[in-house]
């Protein structure tokens, strides 16, 4: 009689929704979706203990000084001209300096270099951009300089990528990017390079 229907009672799942809602709300609250962004840089290797002073002999025409004083004011100096400058101007100055399109004698010297995929190139790979700061320089000013320097190189590389490969840098293959990087290497020095020619301070 009572044995007729022996159905398993199904598990009551009405509260599953509530439980998962609670978990959901917990994760909603604790989540921070912001992806961290930043300017990626690479530091030079630490100096060898036995190596006293890295006497880098750099011709004065190959150096572009970018100085920041304690107020965060910008001073740009190469053989062409020198003086206080705007942060907006920095990018063009750097591009002009690194490119040396007209092969001027006051801008970095050019060499013939054999680069894979690009062939014989006439590049200014000996140039150095020397960034100097005061201990009291605001970090923001320094960051803007770094940002502009990276921007200048990125623009130069992009121009070259479009000219040689017809595409923007980000769409190139790895070997092509390497070739472009060899054409425009980033030589940014934050130490005081020694000059063998005379120069201001």
């Amino acid at each position: 009689m009572a044995k007729k229907k022996k159905k398993m009672p199904s598990l009551n799942t009405t509260s599953t929704a509530d439980i998962s809602f609670m978990l959901l709300i917990f994760f909603l609250v604790t989540t921070s979706m912001d992806t961290d962004m930043g300017l990626a840089r690479r530091l030079p290797k630490p100096p060898e203990p036995d190596q006293e002073d890295a006497t880098m002999d750099i011709k004065s025409r190959n150096i572009l000084y970018v100085r920041l004083n304690h107020l965060g004011e910008l001073w740009i100096e190469d053989e062409m001209n020198r003086g206080f400058s705007d942060f907006k101007e920095l990018r063009n100055r750097v591009k002009e300096f690194v490119k040396n399109e007209q092969n001027l004698s006051k801008l970095p010297e050019k060499h013939v270099k054999n680069i894979d995929l690009l062939g014989q190139c006439f590049v200014t790979d000996k140039h150095v951009i020397s960034v100097q700061t005061d201990r009291a320089t605001p970090y923001d000013a320094y960051f803007q300089v770094q940002n502009e320097l990276v921007a200048a190189y990125n623009e130069l590389r992009n121009e070259l990528a479009k000219q040689k490969f017809g595409r923007e840098l980000q769409y190139l293959k790895k070997e092509e990017i390497d070739a472009i990087k060899k054409y425009y290497p980033q030589n940014i020095s934050e130490a005081e390079p020694k000059k063998y020619q005379q120069g201001g301070q």
């Binding site: 929704a17 604790t30 930043g38 300017l39 990626a40 630490p46 320089t137 605001p138 970090y139 934050e190």
Partner: protein, 152 residues
């Protein structure tokens, strides 16, 4: 029309909510995946500078953070208002960064890819940053990242 005589109970059928938990679970899993729990409590205040040429920090597992800035308001009474460095959950001196970098490197599978992200306040004096960079160089943590916000 005898077959259609069902006028008596015109009740709206209840909505079937049996798939609701599944839906919620889907959303839950999404948030569980994208979530990154803030693992440190910040003891310093900072507004990172704004830049245009920023890159995303892709691999979270190889990134360690160094926070630089003045102490937060409730800690100012103890710590003063000068620039301080925070490593993990506490204030630290510049030279302690060597141990910090080594400790962080220990847990990484790909130690060569270690990245140190410097989250520093805009107004920090470069002296602190230069010292930090010098220590990082000494501890062979050469890949660094100046944390910043995007600007157009």
């Amino acid at each position: 029309m005898a077959g259609f005589k069902k006028k008596a109970s015109r009740e709206i059928p209840e909505m079937n909510t049996s798939s609701l938990p599944d839906l919620i679970f889907t959303i839950l899993f999404f948030f569980m995946m994208v979530t990154t729990m803030r693992e440190v409590t910040l003891k310093v205040k900072f507004t990172t500078p704004a830049g245009t040429e920023l890159e995303k920090l892709e691999k979270k597992s190889v990134v360690s953070f160094i926070y630089v800035g003045p102490p937060t308001d409730n800690l100012r009474a103890q710590m003063g208002s000068g620039t301080r460095i925070q490593l993990n959950d506490r204030f630290a001196e510049t030279r302690e960064i060597i141990d910090f970098v080594a400790a962080e490197r220990q847990g990484m599978t790909n130690q060569a890819e270690q990245v140190i992200s410097i989250k520093a306040d805009q107004g920090t004096q470069m002296g602190y940053i230069t010292d930090i960079k010098e220590v990082l160089r000494k501890s062979w943590a050469l890949r660094i990242n100046y944390s910043a916000t995007k600007r157009n």
